[in-house]
Symmetry: C2
Subunit: 338 residues, 2 copies
């Protein structure tokens, strides 16, 4: 049985390992600082499909295939598949995985989905329901812009706090077979809402959820930021990441050294005109699977807290003047390379 350290933090009893990870990104992500780390870069937003929604389904299928390939597994050998995405009714996940006999758990955590799906996959292993479990998520610039803001053809202007939805997908395969990357534990976050109503400042809206979960996790596990090589949030971008560092400092927690944000790693904001950085479920999924997990496998990272953060708004809620509730989920990864 998993062991809880408090309201949020827990460690798995079983030794759960990342057996495979995979990803695929779009052109802009491929041109960013992590460009040479991705499994595959698609030059075209349509990925050769008829619609961008089909392209996003293809991203999930490909990321999962890449993860399964690294794990040396076939898709049908999975015991459970956990996935979600940003599109209405999570169609990228459901449609991408409809040709399969693998039990499926659909999730909605907005951009927190990579950590959420990984935790639910691990929970299936911990509870004895699965030996091989996969987690996947995606986002796509074109499908997300159309759904949340405007069609690309409209050419809407974006304020400085706005982030760029990554065209990307990442997937992990978990088993109890020893590898160099252990999923030590994690935490499901609670929904926070400090009243931010600006949908062009989602980093600011999500910062409180990320901050709370980081502070709670550190306190419950009696650790400090210096105990970790890296504390990485999903996609707070420049605005949200600065808020987290500053508010943590106010509470006596120093995140100046080993804290980073996937939204700031994915693009070169200056040369790529990316405003506050990257966002979207695929942002943290791609950075996790292309940057963090390989470093853990190689031994250059040993102890990592990875938090995906989600803004739980909808276009309807924005039009109705609602504030933006947000959430974070955390996975605690350990590199066991010698």
């Amino acid at each position: 049985m998993a062991k809880k350290s408090g309201r949020y933090a827990f460690t798995f009893e079983k030794e759960i390992y990342v057996s495979g990870y995979g990803n695929i990104v779009g052109k802009k992500e491929g041109q960013g600082p992590l460009g040479n780390l991705f499994d595959r870069i698609e030059p075209d937003l349509y990925c050769g499909k008829k619609t961008m929604e089909q392209a996003e389904q293809y991203l999930q299928q490909t990321a999962l295939e890449n993860a399964l390939h690294r794990a040396g597994m076939e898709r049908e050998s999975l015991d459970i598949f956990c996935a979600g995405d940003l599109l209405n009714q999570c169609i990228s996940s459901a449609f991408g995985f409809r040709e399969s006999d693998v039990p499926y758990i659909g999730l909605y955590g907005a951009c927190s989905t990579m950590a959420l799906s990984t935790l639910i996959a691990a929970l299936n292993i911990e509870a004895g329901l699965a030996q091989k479990a996969a987690a996947c998520t995606s986002s796509h610039f074109g499908t997300a812009e159309r759904q949340y803001r405007f069609p690309l053809e409209y050419g809407g202007q974006r304020p400085p706090a706005a982030q760029h939805t990554a065209t990307a997908s990442g997937a992990v395969v978990l088993t109890t077979q020893k590898s160099n990357i252990r999923l030590h534990g994690g935490a499901f976050g609670s929904i926070q809402d400090l009243g931010v109503t600006d949908q062009n400042n989602m980093g600011g809206a999500m910062a409180p959820a990320a901050l709370k979960l980081i502070l709670d996790y550190l306190q419950e596990t009696r650790t400090t930021p210096q105990d970790y090589d890296l504390i990485l949030t999903g996609d707070l971008g420049a605005v949200g990441a600065a808020v987290v560092v500053e508010l943590a400092q106010e509470r006596g927690v120093n995140l100046h050294q080993n804290y980073q944000d996937c939204g700031l790693l994915l693009y070169d904001r200056q040369t790529q005109d990316m405003h506050a950085g990257g966002s979207g479920c695929g942002c943290s999924a791609a950075v996790l699977t292309a940057y963090v997990l390989p470093k853990l496998a190689q031994g250059t990272l040993k102890n990592v807290l990875f938090l995906s953060t989600g803004a739980l708004l909808s276009p309807t809620s924005v039009l109705q003047g609602e504030s933006i509730p947000s959430i974070a989920h955390l996975i605690h990864l350990k590199g066991e390379a010698r």
Copy 2:
């Protein structure tokens, strides 16, 4: 550790019980055959709120409060809360639960969410992450019609196979404290898609997923329909339920006697002009919490398979000519009243 009987069916090792259940429904549901069984009937689609989306959030909050009340618990004593709904980005759940410090797992299973959220809540208990876990879902006629079809003011005509989205919410609270209702086991289903493209025949689209999971569960547990008092699907309605019974018969499984569908129980189709019956996450949630669980508590039901079924379409996927993938999830309930 939970014990799997095959690819889908599992039983929990821990003794997991339903400690509380609650619900709330709208006017039409209150006028139906189960009207006197619900905790609360709201006469107005707005429930006194400014928007129907806020009304749906209120439905979830109230159903959960009713469930917690029966369990003799406060909301903040929960270790985990699992919820989802039909609205884009699942705002009924996220917004309904934003004022809380309880860890939150957001799910998307369309109308399969009542069984899905109950299983995920139970999984948290089984894995040792929770002692008190809650599951909740909702649907609302006004919010769903506007999102999936037309605004109510448009007065669109509905074909005979169409179902009526229930205005309803249901919630359960699970613990390991002995009660008369035990959650024995369950099964996460896989996504099925036989190519139905008519969004006004969601029962037909969902029938294959329900049928497959019923047949797999019976086979893996080596049981027959006659071993159960009731096999209840979520919201297949008249078309989908007939398909399930007929196709089961073709496979040598007789569902003529103790099979029912929540979509056919919730309304009087003739006098209430409900076409093929009820649908929506709230349909199976309300029938489970007002009809099934009380009978299990009283001892008039002893052994029940409850399947919620979800059509994983979106308005965008329909407009793009896609077929409708569907899923079912199953919970196996036992009444332990003497």
